[in-house]
Symmetry: C2
Subunit: 177 residues, 2 copies
């Protein structure tokens, strides 16, 4: 990527995340990126192409996190790590995740293969721990992650106390390591 191309990429990501894709015109991106409007189309074909470039690049990074959790063998630790996920979002990635959560509501969620595996591995962990309804438990964890992530991404608050509360409910707060 050339410097200007990277400029377009970063600026678009931020504007998309803040105002939504539809409310962000290519001309606004061009101006904010200090670039001619035509260049956007040269590099990314069209607005949709720009969006896709942003999404696939972000999901690639995200998948690394999911795989780290899937690779955890101890079921308790795996669940704990999953619950910790939304508390560890790198603030550099806020814009990307805001964009992902926004798009959920209009274009359907962006599912990576890593996410699919993540879900299955959670259910498996609950099964190993003899929970009554493992698949429901897994979906609940997912919902909690989404809820906390929303809280973290939208309001700019310090969320750590919430983590304590959750872990206590799963009896994971005194887990070694």
């Amino acid at each position: 990527m050339t410097e200007k191309q990277q400029n377009i990429f970063d600026t678009a990501l931020n504007l998309f995340a803040e105002h939504g894709v539809d409310a962000t015109s290519t001309s606004k991106i061009a101006i904010a990126a200090g670039v001619s409007e035509g260049l956007i189309f040269r590099h990314f074909k069209n607005k949709e192409g720009l969006l896709n470039a942003i999404l696939s690049s972000g999901m690639e990074k995200a998948d690394a996190y999911f795989h780290a959790i899937i690779g955890e063998i101890d079921p308790k630790t795996r669940i704990k790590k999953a619950l910790e996920l939304p508390f560890q979002i790198d603030s550099k990635d806020y814009a990307f995740w805001r964009l992902v959560y926004t798009l959920k509501w209009q274009r359907g969620s962006i599912e990576s293969d890593g996410m699919e595996l993540f879900r299955a591995s959670l259910a498996e962990a609950f099964e190993q721990l003899d929970y009554e309804n493992p698949s429901a438990e897994a979906r609940l964890v997912e919902a909690i992650i989404d809820g906390i992530a929303t809280e973290v991404l939208l309001k700019d608050i310090y969320p750590k106390p919430l983590l304590e509360c959750i872990l206590k409910k799963y009896k994971l707060n005194k887990l070694h390591k």
Copy 2:
């Protein structure tokens, strides 16, 4: 409201919820509602006015639910009712809530006075039950509600098993009434 006015209202709500406000043009609304485009502006001044009409009408209804929970004196029952909230969304109101959740990410959340009171009354309930960090617990419940609501509104699944899982964690599953 005249019949056509109601038509515009309902159609706009559904289109806004499904595709987002920005992606829904007034002409699309007009066509889908079987109405001339000009009529929208006669009745609602502009697109923003139409959106506001939809939002304030919906929040009025929503506040009734919040007040029912605030009015609950027993702290355990109050928390239980709060957690049950997302499982009881009337399917007729799906479009409205989808819209509300969508707007969170672009225009900031739509806060009613009922919601503010709801939040405070939750913290109070946890305090009465001697939880360590009542305000964090209240925010956690809110996050869980948001997460479940997202699940319910986006995927069309049967969510009841999740409710069982949650209530167990709060030790509220065997609460009489």
